[in-house]
């Protein structure tokens, strides 16, 4: 505990850095049209133009401005990842709380389905489904959300299980409270801190999975600007020693690092509260 607390005292610089990064990304995503010099898929020059005052980061394989695509990429990739994570949480938390509160066969049934879904690696599963049903964005969102909700289910069920065995939940049951009331008033408020942390982690995971899919050419489709596919499209430049194509990958990495720093600090914070 002593060490955890000392760490807490020392870590805020990383958390602060994380928050700064996230804030920066949010601003860039929201004001993308204002910040960009050109249109999202506007072809402005020849392919693979080098860096210049006109094209700060050069142009891509089709002659579109790299910086513009990078900024729009923030908007698209983060937006879709966020929607997917929220959806995954809605599905996963409701199922998890239900399983924990109801117990018995309902818990068993949901649990078995989730076990099977989790037995298949997410990327492989996503690839399979996307091959068959196509890669339209709504499908992408639903498929990844459903797959990811299994992880959310596991956690929310585990957290809720620890809460459901508390005497205050039994008190509410003995009082005659309904299922919904118990879930909303007794379980949810106590499950919030670990779920908030998990939201950050799941967002990172979804974000990375989406980028991986896009990188493989199966995620967000052109001409929508997206960091994963930007890396893939311009990868040839790397063999010439140009690191421009790594920039979108670095953008992905920086954001997930930022979120992870915040979550890490938050987890320490809540763990510290518990110790008191």
């Amino acid at each position: 505990m002593q060490d955890a607390l000392r760490l807490l005292g020392n870590s805020p610089w990383s958390a602060r850095l994380g928050m700064l990064v996230v804030l920066f990304y949010v601003v860039v995503a929201i004001f993308a049209p204002v910040l960009t010099p050109y249109g999202e898929s506007e072809i402005v020059a020849a392919e693979y133009e080098p860096w210049s005052s006109e094209f700060l980061l050069g142009t891509d394989n089709l002659g579109r401005d790299m910086l513009t695509r990078l900024i729009y990429g923030a908007r698209n990739t983060i937006g879709i990842a966020l929607i997917t994570t929220v959806l995954a949480f809605l599905i996963g938390c409701v199922a998890g709380f239900l399983a924990a509160t109801l117990g018995g066969w309902a818990d068993q049934a949901i649990g078995r389905v989730v076990d099977v879904l989790m037995a298949i690696p997410q990327l492989i599963f996503a690839l399979l489904i996307l091959t068959i049903v196509g890669t339209a964005i709504p499908i992408l969102v639903v498929v990844i959300a459903v797959l990811d909700s299994t992880r959310v289910f596991r956690l929310s069920r585990a957290v809720a299980m620890n809460i459901v065995v508390m005497d205050y939940v039994e008190v509410a049951r003995l009082r005659g409270e309904g299922l919904w009331w118990i879930m909303r008033r007794e379980v949810l408020p106590n499950a919030l801190p670990p779920l908030v942390a998990e939201f950050g982690l799941r967002f990172c995971f979804v974000f990375l999975l989406l980028s991986a899919l896009s990188f493989l050419g199966l995620g967000i489709q052109p001409p929508t600007a997206d960091w994963g596919s930007m890396v893939r499209d311009n990868a040839t430049l790397i063999t010439f020693g140009d690191f421009t194509p790594i920039l979108p990958a670095a953008s992905i990495a920086l954001l997930t690092v930022g979120v992870n720093f915040i979550v890490d600090w938050f987890l320490h914070q809540t763990a510290g509260l518990k110790d008191e």
């Binding site: 002593q2 005497d167 205050y168 008190v171 003995l174 009082r175 008033r185 408020p189 106590n190 510290g272």
Partner: protein
């Protein structure tokens, strides 16, 4: 055997801690949890450390080994063991002492034994490692000590794993392990607190015998004055990290000087006046109830019970007696396999979902652990207010006024407490809030499941008195589930004794408490430590005498 080679004067104390200060970390700050306590212990002497939670007694016990738990530090004073300063001594120097000359017996033997190794391997570890004995000698010695401590099958039991033996046996095996190097000093940290009373008396006897036999010095830490009175030559009473009073066991028990010590001594003397026989038809009647958890063996077998209006029925038994299961059956959480339950002559539906709101309202429950019985994310206003809204439909001003009234009833200032969260309350205050929440429903019967066992003794006494006052004012009936016979004596009108899912004896308080008893009731009653010096020796001698006369003497299930 280790003291022979020491060169210090025999009259020098074995352990001398002066001005001991220990700090505990809370967030960024360090708070003092032991504030300058002096402890002196002579060879062969048993020192009792007694106090309620937060008194710092365990921390002092560990400090005697030069050890502070993670999150604590020995911040001041001297710890001199046999002429050696331990505070600030290098780790390897302390390591040479620990296990060899100073040994430790933890409260929960089940957690303190490593699950991956056999008992005898863990026994032999310290003597072999410190070069005191060979492996073969250590094993032979283990068997001797197991026999001395009256463990069953002393030759074989050491080859079992910790999870294969019972709690009382583990505690004895841990005492044996502490003895393995014949230490000069053993620290016993609440060694019997987790045990049932009938097991406790046997473990106490075993510990006392072996400490006396090996002529070791001991620090015996407990919250139970009656226990320490049996074990210690000298007693130190501690509170909030300060010494309250120190003296021989006889002085402390028979001639206490301080008010706090007197309060601790008086703690089990409260008695409810006799109520006489029940007058009207019973409020709750249980007929032939049997129950089991899915697929396990039956935990309740053919239980009949009546609870009259304004009566307190104490259901007493040890762990596994089925007393808490009985509460679950009555509340409808566990529908019985056979038998019926009547409330005011009307049959209650067996399962919770079948009962209507009015039935639920009239039967409330209070739990053992107030910490887990209150939602930490709700204010007292909501905790107490919810049953008011739910059962009685009170809203707004009316609800607020009633919550305040209830807070006053449980002796908490409404202005101060109504907006607090449970984490901002002490243990006793939390239990009061649980009582207020039950009262809010205006119930006829309250089931109290071990409501005082998690509380310090003085606080528990206050709660009992509060419950009694509320019964008198509000004409409540209580079903009081407990393992603690002192509580039973204090508050019950009638007593029900349970053993392994069956009722072995029931009746009015005085009938059950005065002989002749059922054999088990006798064992139970005679095992409760009394606040008298020499009680343990007398009781054991009495049992021995009866055995010698050829009488059957019941033993705890642990043996």
């Amino acid at each position: 055997m280790n003291s022979g080679d020491s060169t210090t004067d025999v009259r020098e104390p074995l352990l001398k801690m002066t001005g001991l200060r220990i700090e505990g970390q809370a967030g960024e700050r360090w708070n003092e949890i032991v504030r300058g306590v002096d402890v002196v212990l002579h060879r062969g002497e048993v020192l009792g450390l007694i106090g309620e939670s937060g008194a710092g007694k365990s921390t002092i016990g560990l400090a005697a080994m030069g050890y502070a738990r993670p999150g604590c530090r020995l911040s001041g004073g001297d710890i001199v063991f046999d002429g050696m300063e331990l505070r600030g001594a290098p780790e390897d120097r302390k390591r040479d002492l620990r296990g060899v000359r100073i040994a430790y017996v933890a409260q929960s033997a089940a957690a303190a034994f490593n699950p991956a190794h056999r008992l005898i391997d863990q026994f032999a570890e310290a003597p072999v490692h410190h070069g005191v004995k060979s492996r073969a000698e250590a094993e032979a010695d283990a068997k001797d000590l197991y026999r001395r401590l009256q463990l069953p099958y002393p030759e074989q039991i050491g080859y079992r794993y910790p999870h294969q033996v019972s709690g009382g046996q583990l505690q004895r095996a841990m005492t044996a392990m502490a003895m393995s190097c014949r230490p000069d000093l053993i620290v016993f940290d609440e060694p019997t607190t987790a045990l049932d009373v009938t097991t406790q008396i046997e473990v106490l006897a075993a510990i006392k015998d072996v400490v006396r036999h090996l002529d070791a010095a001991a620090i015996y830490i407990t919250h139970d004055l009656a226990v320490v009175a049996q074990m210690a030559d000298r007693i130190m009473v501690l509170r909030y990290g300060d010494l309250v009073e120190e003296g021989t066991a006889d002085q402390i028990i028979n001639r206490p000087r301080e008010k706090y010590t007197r309060e601790l001594l008086a703690v089990r003397t409260y008695r409810k006046p006799d109520a006489g026989p029940p007058s009207e038809a019973p409020l709750l009647r249980i007929e032939g109830v049997s129950a089991r958890y899915s697929r396990s063996a039956r935990v309740l077998e053919d239980v009949d019970l009546e609870i009259g209006r304004r009566r307190t029925v104490a259901v007493v038994g040890e762990s596994g007696s089925g007393k808490s299961t009985l509460a679950r059956v009555i509340t409808g959480l566990l529908p019985p396999e056979e038998g019926r339950i009547f409330f005011e002559g009307e049959a209650l539906p067996p399962a919770l979902p079948g009962r209507n709101r009015e039935m639920l309202r009239r039967l409330q429950m209070i739990y053992q652990m107030p910490d887990t019985a209150l939602n930490p994310r709700q204010r007292l206003r909501d905790i107490i207010g919810r049953p008011l809204a739910f059962y009685l439909g009170l809203t707004g001003r009316k609800r607020e006024d009633r919550v305040r009234e209830l807070l006053e009833m449980i002796e908490l200032d409404p202005d101060d407490f109504i907006d607090r969260y449970p984490t901002e309350l002490s243990g006793g205050q939390k239990q009061r809030v649980c009582i207020a929440r039950a009262l809010a429903a205006q119930p006829d019967l309250i089931i109290c499941d071990e409501v005082t066992s998690a509380l310090d003794q003085l606080v528990a006494e206050e709660i009992l008195k509060l419950l009694q006052r509320l019964q008198d004012e509000l004409h409540l009936s209580y079903m009081f589930i407990t393992h603690d016979l002192a509580t039973v004596r204090a508050i019950s009108d009638e007593i029900v004794v349970m053993l392994q899912g069956r009722i072995v004896e029931q009746g009015a308080r005085n009938d059950v408490l005065t002989p002749p008893h059922h054999e088990y009731t006798n064992l139970l009653l005679s095992s409760v430590p009394e606040m008298k010096i020499g009680w343990l020796d007398r009781t054991l001698a009495e049992r021995e005498k009866r055995r010698a006369r050829g009488e059957q003497v019941m033993e705890s299930a642990d043996r």
